[in-house]
């Protein structure tokens, strides 16, 4: 006879390891690690059934600092490793940690496919718009003109938007947040965890050594309220330190514009109301860029469909009763003949 003992609730500190965390002092990764550990505790995650999978880069050291199962794989390939793991063990709670170089340059193909397949994993993309571990080269998300060791005269490549990439790949959960906004970060991590299927979370993360302040145009305290729009499902899109800025669809155009409440008779009723299930809207919101527009944060899109594993194992269950039942029978299907002794 077995008795079920309710598992002890775990604290954030229970998800720490004995390994010294070796990111640069002041790195945004520390805040993300702390938020993830708190999220794990808050959602009641079990250490034994949680796995962190990562690629290569600063962010990808993450698994060593979480006391769950962890797999630090090779550059760009974490989505493929995580997919294989879920095909072996669909019941596991799998998190993927990647960066703008790992996830969108060398691993862009795998990120694309893990999203379109809708494998049930949480993908945290730490976007610092730079290669940190290799000492500061421009990345696929670096802005044009980024001066780096490999682009002394400034980079010429047009940057990629992780959020738009994810939407384009068919992701069913796309969210955005900032390393230093602990409460929002934890809230979004919990949403990502609650979502079944591939949940994609772009985290703006400041690299203090190679790209310090690159997000200051919307994260700096002095401008943040006017340059950040925190969207919530069913709520009108209002921002600004005086809560009087709003986002409106331009009449007759598929474009958004910033309006000021009470100016020219603009009222709250004129503003867009966030709808997480509207993918077109998510695309429009994801495209907005400071300083003309606020940076849109929060869950831009969430519209679940069956996960990859649901469908794959559904097929396997359906096939269970079909065909030859055992290997002996299988190998004897088709024409056989017997030689008598």
């Amino acid at each position: 006879m077995t008795t079920t003992v309710a598992p002890q609730p775990l604290k954030p500190s229970d998800f720490e390891t004995d390994q010294e965390v070796r990111w640069c002092p002041g790195c945004g990764d520390y805040a993300i690690l702390k938020a993830v550990q708190k999220t794990l505790a808050d959602v009641g995650a079990r250490k034994e059934s949680t796995v962190f999978v990562s690629g290569i880069g600063c962010s990808s050291r993450f698994p060593y600092y979480v006391s769950t199962y962890g797999f630090h794989t090779i550059h760009g390939r974490a989505p493929a490793v995580a997919t294989g793991l879920k095909l072996a063990r669909p019941e596991l709670d799998v998190w993927l940690v990647t960066g703008d170089g790992d996830g969108l340059s060398i691993g862009g193909n795998h990120l694309l496919h893990v999203l379109r397949r809708n494998v049930d994993i949480k993908i945290l993309l730490f976007n610092n718009e730079i290669y940190g571990l290799t000492k500061g080269q421009f990345s696929p998300t670096s802005r044009v003109g980024t001066k780096s060791p490999s682009t002394p005269l400034g980079s010429v490549d047009a940057p990629l938007s992780p959020t738009l990439f994810a939407l384009g790949a068919g992701a069913r959960f796309v969210a955005r947040t900032i390393d230093t906004t602990q409460a929002h970060l934890v809230a979004i991590l919990k949403r990502a965890h609650a979502h079944r299927g591939a949940s994609f979370l772009e985290i703006f993360q400041n690299c203090v050594v190679y790209n310090d302040g690159v997000f200051d145009d919307f994260t700096d305290r002095s401008v943040a309220p006017d340059r950040q729009l925190l969207v919530e499902h069913g709520k009108p899109m209002i921002f600004g330190k005086d809560k009087n800025q709003g986002i409106r669809l331009k009449p007759n155009l598929l474009e958004l514009e910033v309006v000021t409440l009470d100016d020219d008779g603009v009222t709250e009723a004129d503003l867009l109301v966030h709808d997480e299930k509207n993918r077109t809207l998510a695309g429009l919101l994801g495209s907005l860029q400071p300083p003309t527009f606020p940076q849109v944060l929060g869950v831009l899109y969430c519209d679940p469909t069956p996960t990859y594993e649901d469908v794959v194992f559904g097929q396997i269950r359906a096939a269970a009763g079909t065909g030859p039942k055992d290997l002996n029978a299988l190998m004897r299907t088709g024409r056989t003949w017997t030689v008598a002794g």
């Binding site: 794989t73 997919t83 396997i316 039942k325 003949w337 030689v339």
Partner: protein, 619 residues
């Protein structure tokens, strides 16, 4: 209806026959050959087949590069190769004749569909004058038949469109050849009725075509040729089937998982010729708990296999040379994290894209040496289609027991070739159950079995064993990241010792044929088994001191191999590459092995090997 198959009194008995069916890639030659093979297997002959098709799915009709062929060698004695030269060639069009005639022996039978020898097709094939009429075929016994017309008459009652009617031409020809060699038609007719169950008119027309071809042979004036008979071969008692290397390998993997008591097989692959059929075959075995994953690329396939292995499944990936090249970094990760993955390489002609549909064994260096860092891993190879079953199981055993990726080298020839196989009883197969680690006491991820040096397999989901692994060097004692110089030395030595130690867990190298010492050892590996064996047998019959040694375990080698080789005065290594095993043997054992290489995309002929070996015996 089919009682008279062996009736004619005029049948000439033959010990062995080689036939090649050749036509346009749309003419259904592979199906024709497969059905002839099935009827031949059911007639109790030993056999070996060799399908040879172009890389293009539908090359322009009538061209030489669109010719598809299927060769079968069958006989009343042991058959080990698809045959050197043809006793009979079926040429469905001028291009098929042009490409294949050189392999037909003088005095051989040539069946041509003369209706296709029109100006247009002749030009496409590069003939200025029809070979049917210009006297160039006088060395052969030619059956000039208007197969197109004879077939059209046979299928007329079924009201098929012109296109569908012409498609039955191959079945008419099959019927004729079945008659010629005294084969039954039952299995073919059953197969046609099953295949076209939803299109009864097409099924009936095809059956009528088979019967008409057969009846033509029986009643028409074929006095110059007549019929032949090939008596059944001796075989051990048991149940048999024909099996391709691909089928045997897929079943071997499933049998291996069962022997390891692993519930789930995860097979992750990316489409590539000639390896895709392994994925296709396993995709049809979902009822055995097989999960197949068609990944976005080769790298993802290998990485997904690694993820699955980490999760405690039997992980498999398959590819061919270029795909293996892409997987290489990830194979290193599997070696570094010591996770079991069976990596199948269906070798094809290289380098680069090379000859996708042609066979070669030129990825041995890649398998043994082709990774960054000191990354040894076991390499084993298959030698015949049926051998693929046992080797598939063996790859699973080594991978799971030693916690390592295993490279399984097979090739495009074995993948598609078929031969009779005595089907094993699963209950009698070896068992090698896996035990996942579950004890948290003193746990660290690189705890090793002191005997095998294999690390523990600790699967996520197990309470108390939470740990982190990865591609960075780990501490021998704690499993944490370590950049310590002495530790890297120790881990490198340990990884090497683990793989080398497998030599104590595999059979000693046996001599396939002949004495274990003598004048000359002919050493091979892979699909050259059949031709080497036959060549050595032929020379032994002439009294030569020559032996055949065939190596399955290429890394590590069997521990007696060096001693065995040193007992011969000379060593020659025939390979379908530019000399790879020969170099490895020389490096490993400092023996004066000589190469004999062939890279034409085609298997060795016995006669080529006999000549090469004889030259070395005479020197």
């Amino acid at each position: 209806m089919t009682t008279a198959t062996t009736a004619p009194t005029s049948r000439t008995p033959k010990d062995a026959v080689v036939i090649r069916f050749a036509g346009d890639s749309g003419d259904g030659m592979q199906i024709t050959g497969s059905e002839f093979t099935l009827e031949t297997a059911l007639a109790g002959n030993d056999l070996s087949t060799f399908p040879d098709f172009p890389a293009e799915i539908r090359a322009p009709a009538g061209t030489t590069f669109g010719v598809s062929a299927f060769q079968i060698h069958f006989g009343s004695k042991e058959v080990m190769t698809a045959g050197d030269e043809l006793d009979a060639l079926v040429a469905m069009n001028p291009a098929a004749l042009k490409v294949n005639l050189k392999d037909l022996r003088h005095g051989g039978i040539l069946v041509c569909d003369v209706a296709t020898f029109n100006a247009r097709n002749l030009t496409k094939a590069g003939y200025s004058v029809s070979p049917i009429d210009d006297g160039s075929l006088t060395d052969y016994r030619v059956l000039k038949l208007d197969v197109t017309k004879l077939n059209a008459e046979a299928v007329k009652p079924f009201g098929l469109g012109a296109k569908d009617a012409v498609r039955c031409r191959n079945m008419w020809t099959l019927g004729l050849m079945l008659w010629m060699f005294g084969r039954e038609r039952h299995a073919t007719i059953e197969w046609l009725q099953r295949k076209f169950a939803k299109k009864p008119a097409i099924a009936d027309a095809n059956v009528a075509a088979v019967n008409a071809g057969h009846a033509f042979g029986e009643t028409a004036e074929l006095s110059s040729i007549g019929g032949f008979s090939v008596a059944p071969a001796k075989a051990d008692p048991g149940t048999y089937r024909t099996v391709t290397g691909t089928e045997a390998l897929a079943w071997g993997i499933v049998a291996g998982a069962k022997a390891a008591q692993l519930e789930r097989v995860v097979m992750a692959s990316y489409p590539i010729t000639p390896s895709s059929p392994v994925l296709h075959t396993l995709a049809g075995l979902k009822q055995f708990g097989v999960v197949t994953f068609q990944a976005e690329d080769e790298i993802a396939a290998m990485c997904a296999a690694i993820g699955a292995a980490y999760g405690g499944a039997l992980a498999v990936t398959s590819s061919s040379g270029p795909g293996i090249a892409l997987k290489t970094e990830a194979i290193g990760l599997a070696a570094m994290t010591e996770l079991p993955v069976v990596v199948i390489n269906n070798q094809r002609g290289g380098p680069s894209t090379g000859l996708p549909t042609k066979t070669e064994q030129s990825d041995l260096y890649q398998a043994v040496y082709g990774r960054n860092g000191d990354t040894p891993l076991p390499v084993i190879s298959t030698s015949t289609p049926s051998d693929c079953f046992e080797v598939g199981m063996e790859a699973v055993r080594i991978a799971t027991k030693y916690m390592t990726p295993v490279m399984l080298l097979t090739d495009g020839y074995l993948a598609n070739a078929s031969e009779p196989w005595q089907i094993p009883d699963v209950a009698t197969l070896p068992k090698f159950p896996v035990r996942f680690h579950t004890d948290p006491t003193g746990f660290q991820p690189y705890l090793r079995d002191p005997k095998t040096l294999g690390r523990v397999w600790a699967v996520p989901g197990t309470p108390g064993l939470e740990h982190r692994i990865g591609g960075i060097e780990k501490d021998y004692d704690t499993g944490h990241i370590s950049y310590e110089p002495e530790n890297h030395q120790r881990m490198t030595d340990t990884r090497a010792a683990k793989i080398d130690g497998i030599a104590n867990d595999i059979p000693l190298q046996a001599v396939a044929l002949g004495e274990d010492r003598g004048k000359l050892a002919v050493v091979g590996w892979g699909s050259t088994y059949g031709p080497i064996h036959q060549a050595v047998r032929q020379l032994q019959a002439e009294g030569a001191s020559v032996s055949h040694i065939h190596i399955r375990y290429l890394k590590p080698f069997p521990r007696n191999l060096g001693d065995l080789l040193r007992r011969f005065d000379r060593i020659v290594v025939p390979e379908m590459n530019n000399g790879q095993l020969v170099t490895v043997l020389r490096a490993e054992f400092l023996v004066p092995a000589e190469k004999f290489s062939k890279v034409t995309g085609k298997p060795f002929k016995i006669v080529e090997l006999v000549e090469a070996i004889r030259a070395r015996l005479e020197k």
